[in-house]
Amino acid sequence: MTTTTRAAATPPRTRAPRGAARRFGLARHSLALAGRSLIKTLRTPEQLLDVTLQPIIFVLIFVYLLGGAISGSQHAYLEFLLPAIMVQTVLFASIATGVSLNTDVEKGVFDRFRSLPIARSAPLVGSVVGDLVRFVVSIVVLFAFGYAIGFRIGTDPLSTLAACLLTIAFAFAVSWIGVLLGVVMRSPGAVQGTAFLVLFPLTFGTNMMVPTDTLPGWLQWWVGINPVADVMEAARGLIIGGPVAGPVTRSLLWTVAIIAVFAPLAVRAYRRRA
């Protein structure tokens, strides 16, 4: 049988170049690992169920349940709400990064990654980038559904694209908070619970549903310092028109700041959890 032939043969060792040390290692390795996440997501498309249904459910609840009461016209409310809902659903979608990482880190395959000559941060960056598909799916579903029920962009496609990219960039930043939780916490359930606890005041404590001036003073103060409110404001400005420069600048600064704090913390925690 094959046993005998294998025992006699030696393992293939054709001395192909082992790959001369090439540049941009972190970027290439992270992309290879992001490709791995993508394959996993596409192999089990039901993983995308949440990002597909969530935007639809949120729009239905807010527009038809509350829209009439809040703004008198469901259509006007849809215009006001949809850009902010986009930010919220993409942020909710980013939670999955930390949750799946938490399951992954325990598995042997992460040991393999750790024993390879690649940067320690590459598997983490790979997980974050690999979730891009979730963000894109949720945005596409949201706009398709919004258009079906009467939403129209008030600016131009380029500005709208900019709003989507800004939202995705911010979600990547927030993913790093999820990654930190995913590396530090003991179970996927704990990661999910904690992440929602963090995200609820951040997404709902905004002017997503109602104008800021209708809020009590302490809540106005919170909306004023809440970075998610800035991103929603920026998305609204870029998609339906309104102030853009201020909110976009603040959103970008927050994005950079969150990555600068949480990415190193996550990588350090991952290093320690050997």
Binding site: R6, H29, I39
Partner: protein, 322 residues
């Protein structure tokens, strides 16, 4: 230093604690280039912890280890270029196909896309996995998963290969197959660290064996030396007809000059030196027309080695090391 030239890896006085548990209490391990070091010990003896330190996955609390002359802590990146690791549990991605698993590793090792594909195909063929190459690894049998895992650790043509209990849970045929793989790796010039709970496996593959218990090396030597420490081999006979046990005992006594024991009803054992008496026993049983259900020349078991070395059995559980 002589060591750097002759040893593929070398560990001195490794200590590792997890909370109040001491997994390694100062162990030394070393293997010359192109040889197999067997690390033999029961569950929780510290085998996996030692491998993880040598594979740069854990930092030792004390002591030092080098691979190819590079320190596993200070020079971890260099060490990772030299090693391949196969864990106790198969560390492949279950959602990826065989090919995707190996191509990913190749890409992470900076092979070009084409080289990575070629290397994956080559390894899959060698491990008889070509037909399953396009299926997700979760559909593989236990033996196939082990082979894929081992293939993944060989993508980068490592000089030093760690095999952490590569045959635990495999059936005897798959075990033999894995042994063949290990032998060909060594023929090809690799150095192998093999951990195992089975004396016969260490005996079959290792050039030298370190026996460890409670995080310490309690014996080191060639398989022959260890077997001498552990004492003789044993002949085991179980006759088909239990009432002829007296005749069997007489034959054993005559052939070996030692007094047989009756550890269980219907089963006789007698210690022997060398295998010459065994042939005599077989011939005499045949001459006397005594049929047997069991007739074997047994190596001392790990249990017996442990009992000789430590005064306690190998199956007394020690704390599980991470």
């Amino acid at each position: 230093m002589v060591g750097a030239m002759t040893y593929a890896f070398e560990a001195e006085g490794l200590v590792k604690r997890f909370g109040t548990t001491t997994a390694l209490a100062g162990i030394d391990l070393a293997a010359r280039r192109g040889t197999v070091l067997g690390v033999l010990g029961p569950n929780g003896a510290g085998k996996t912890t030692a491998v993880r330190i040598l594979a740069t996955l854990l930092r030792p609390d004390a002591g030092r280890a080098t691979v190819g002359g590079h320190d596993v802590v200070a020079d971890a990146a260099e060490v990772r270029r030299l090693i391949g690791l196969t864990g106790q549990y198969a560390s492949v991605d279950e959602d990826l196909t065989g090919t995707q698993n190996l191509v990913l590793i190749g890409r992470l090792l900076d092979l070009s896309r084409r080289d990575a594909r070629a290397r994956a195909a080559e390894l899959l063929a060698w491990f008889d996995l070509t037909e399953a190459a396009g299926r997700p690894a979760k559909t593989y049998s236990g033996g196939m998963r082990r082979r894929l895992d081992l293939a993944a650790s060989l993508v980068g043509r490592p000089e030093v290969i760690y095999l952490d209990e590569p045959t635990t849970g495999l059936d005897p045929a798959k075990r033999e197959e894995m042994w063949g793989v290990v032998r060909s790796l060594v023929d090809d010039g690799s150095t192998v660290l093999l951990t195992t709970q089975y004396l016969d496996e260490a005996d079959a593959l290792a050039d030298e064996i370190s026996v460890i218990d409670h995080g310490r090396v309690i014996a080191h030597g060639t398989p022959g030396e260890l077997k001498r420490i552990a004492g003789s081999q044993t002949i085991v006979v179980r006759p088909t007809e239990p009432d002829r046990i007296g005749e069997v005992a007489e034959i054993l006594r005559a052939s070996t000059g030692a007094e047989p024991e009756l550890p269980r009803p219907g089963l006789l054992t007698v210690p022997v030196e060398g295998d010459a008496p065994f042939t005599a026993v077989v011939r005499r049983l045949d001459d006397a027309g005594i049929g047997v259900v069991e007739l074997a020349l047994r190596l001392p078991s790990l249990d017996e080695v442990f009992f000789t070395l430590t005064g306690h059995g190998a199956d007394e559980p020690t704390e599980v090391a991470a």
